[in-house]
């Protein structure tokens, strides 16, 4: 059993209930947490289609109805319930964002750890490849990928994954460079621990906090990218709802039915705000060294 310095362990290995209590004590983090929780719950309900009305069901008599007790967020030009579509749109966005950020964080972390830990030629080659991807403005890269494989949910996932993998690789590589020469890693190596064991048991636990914060912030960027691609007609395809697509489809009708853009717009803004506040709060709680002033 190798004993690691307490200073490094203390912040990254807080027990979950303790750090959640600390997180919720900060008002802005608590607001972020609640917003994310509300978004996740409504999206999960949307995912299993537990919505007030079926998402694609049209009510021709009730076209462009203002918000009321019958239709909480009003209806669109086909008489579809906006509230149900916002819920389902959130589910689509959540699916894309979570899947792409999961894959990119996994790939990026593996690449970053490999590059940082191994060093030398492999480091140069891997990070140069990441730099090449990084040099592309993210939306341009996403657009290129969508051009190649066509618009749709899976291509949006791939596009966001390719865009965010280099970011995770960079974020992961930084701490590895410092940690691989830390005393406890040297001690583990002296005791005959294999490289994979050192990485999994000694290096990775000490960089978890940075990755958790990055993961939360990346979710908000992924949501924006998905909504942006859908806004341009290159993400989720109609008649399936997506917040970005709902905004873009209904722009022309906003003058007579402002609720058509108000509710999807608010949904995007509040969700991204929630993830940003939560990300900032997590950074403050989990890693005081990174605490933003």
């Amino acid at each position: 059993m190798i004993h690691k310095p307490k200073q490094i362990e203390s912040d990254s290995r807080q027990s979950p209930p303790f750090f959640i209590i600390r997180l919720l004590r900060d008002p802005s983090s608590a607001i972020g947490f609640l917003l994310v929780l509300a978004f996740t719950c409504s999206s999960l309900l949307g995912l299993i289609e537990v919505t007030p009305y079926p998402v694609l069901e049209q009510h021709p008599i009730d076209r462009l109805k203002a918000p009321s007790s019958e239709y909480w967020f009003g209806t669109d030009q086909f008489g579809r319930d906006i509230f149900s579509r916002v819920m389902k749109g959130g589910a689509n966005s959540l699916q894309v964002a979570v899947t792409s950020v999961f894959i990119s964080s996994f790939l990026g972390t593996v690449i970053g750890i490999l590059a940082g830990y191994t060093g030398g030629l492999l480091d140069t080659v891997l990070m140069r490849l990441m730099d090449i991807l990084f040099a592309f403005p993210s939306l341009l890269l996403a657009l290129l990928i969508v051009t190649i494989i066509g618009a749709g949910l899976s291509s949006t996932v791939l596009a966001i994954t390719v865009v965010y993998t280099p970011i995770f690789a960079r974020v992961a590589r930084g701490p590895v460079l410092g940690l691989k020469n830390a005393e406890f890693v040297t001690a583990a190596r002296c005791l005959g621990a294999q490289n994979w064991r050192i990485i999994l048991h000694h290096i990775f636990p000490n960089m978890r906090t940075v990755l958790i914060v990055q993961f939360t912030l990346a979710l908000s960027w992924a949501l924006i990218t998905e909504a942006g691609l859908s806004f341009l007609g290159l993400g989720t395809q109609p008649p399936n709802p997506s917040w970005g697509l709902m905004l873009s489809e209904n722009r022309g009708l906003a003058e007579i039915a402002p609720w058509l853009i108000l509710f999807p717009g608010l949904a995007i803004m509040l969700t991204v705000l929630g993830f940003n506040l939560l990300g900032d709060g997590l950074r403050d709680v989990l890693d005081p060294y990174l605490k933003a002033e």
Binding site: A135, F136, P137, L140, F231, E255, I268, A292, E293
Partner: protein
């Protein structure tokens, strides 16, 4: 310094080379052959001979490596190919649209600086007051409102409450009529500058807070210098160093990232040209635009890196 310059130049060239391979290869990954992809249903009317002749004309009958070198050699000479639908060469098309995107980027940066730096300074100086709170709310909102949402809201408010539509007529060049041109560009610039202002505000605030605790600021105060001089001459000059880097990087993004804003406000810039090229499957144009944007981005990053060294004498490159 010279060594660092050469190293950075080499690294930039390798990145550009890698990107050219990627952009070239990516377009070849498009399902189906390029002739069909570009001509659509009309490709069905081609005879075998006509198809073979078109393939010969575009060099598609040669091995991919040879195709890449031909394309790269031509690209280095400014020849990015021909846009079939527009009936023109790619580079003049891009250069024609570039001033709109450039002007939009410059205006966005100016708006972001005018809002972000003063709010950031005041928020740092009045830490934990309502002004600071307002500044932080502004920055958080700025980072949470995507530009397609802000642009849509701006158009909605202008059209409903003021009865005007930004850029409802044809785009007017700055040198033709500066007044109309600025009227057409101010709202798109606000749309793009808003989130950038939020980033600058955050960066300025945190850099100022850090610098205000430095010993040289305490020394300046203890010498009896007026607070204004301490803030402007001693604190701000040092706090702005990371902000300059941020401005450079964001400027690179703004030059290549105006796709949505140009689309919303119907501005004939590079972003809109790119979206049209993508939806119409104009591959030569897509390749040309991607290379042009990335080239700008790399050049700007390179310049920022050099400026950083000049601004901060503590930065040494010869390690």
């Amino acid at each position: 310094m010279r060594q660092h310059l050469i190293r950075r130049l080499l690294a930039s060239m390798i990145t550009l080379l890698g990107i050219s391979v990627m952009v070239f290869g990516a377009i070849r990954l498009v399902p189906g052959d390029q002739i069909t992809a570009q001509l659509g249903t009309e490709a069905g009317m081609l005879s075998d001979e006509q198809r073979a002749s078109l393939e010969r004309y575009y060099g598609l009958d040669r091995p991919p490596v040879e195709q890449y070198f031909t394309w790269a050699t031509n690209a280095l000479q400014g020849n990015f190919g021909f846009s079939i639908r527009q009936g023109r060469e790619v580079l003049p098309l891009i250069l024609e649209r570039f001033p709109v995107t450039l002007e939009l980027a410059i205006l966005s940066v100016l708006i972001a600086l005018l809002i972000g730096i003063p709010v950031g300074i005041i928020a740092a100086l009045r830490r934990n007051t309502w002004i600071d709170f307002f500044g932080r709310v502004f920055s958080m909102l700025g980072l949470s409102v995507p530009n397609f949402l802000l642009g849509t809201l701006i158009i909605y408010i202008l059209s409903v409450y003021f009865g005007i539509l930004p850029n409802s007529g044809n785009y007017v060049d700055f040198f033709e009529d500066p007044n109309t041109n600025l009227q057409q560009l101010i709202f798109p610039a606000i749309t793009m500058g808003f989130s950038f202002a939020a980033s600058i505000m955050r960066m300025t605030r945190s850099a100022m807070l850090e610098v205000l605790n430095e010993s040289y600021v305490r020394t300046a105060r203890s010498k009896g210098l007026p607070e204004r001089t301490v803030i402007l001459r001693h604190a701000l000059r040092n706090a702005l160093i990371p902000v300059v880097t941020l401005i450079g990087i964001e400027f690179g993004y703004l030059l290549g990232g105006a796709f949505i804003t140009e689309q919303i406000f119907a501005l004939p810039g590079i972003g809109r040209l790119a979206i049209n090229a993508i939806t119409q499957r104009e591959y030569a144009l897509v390749q040309g635009i991607a290379m042009f944007i990335v080239f700008n981005f790399i050049v700007i990053n390179f310049i920022v890196d050099m400026i950083y060294g000049l601004l901060d004498p503590r930065v040494t490159y010869d390690t």
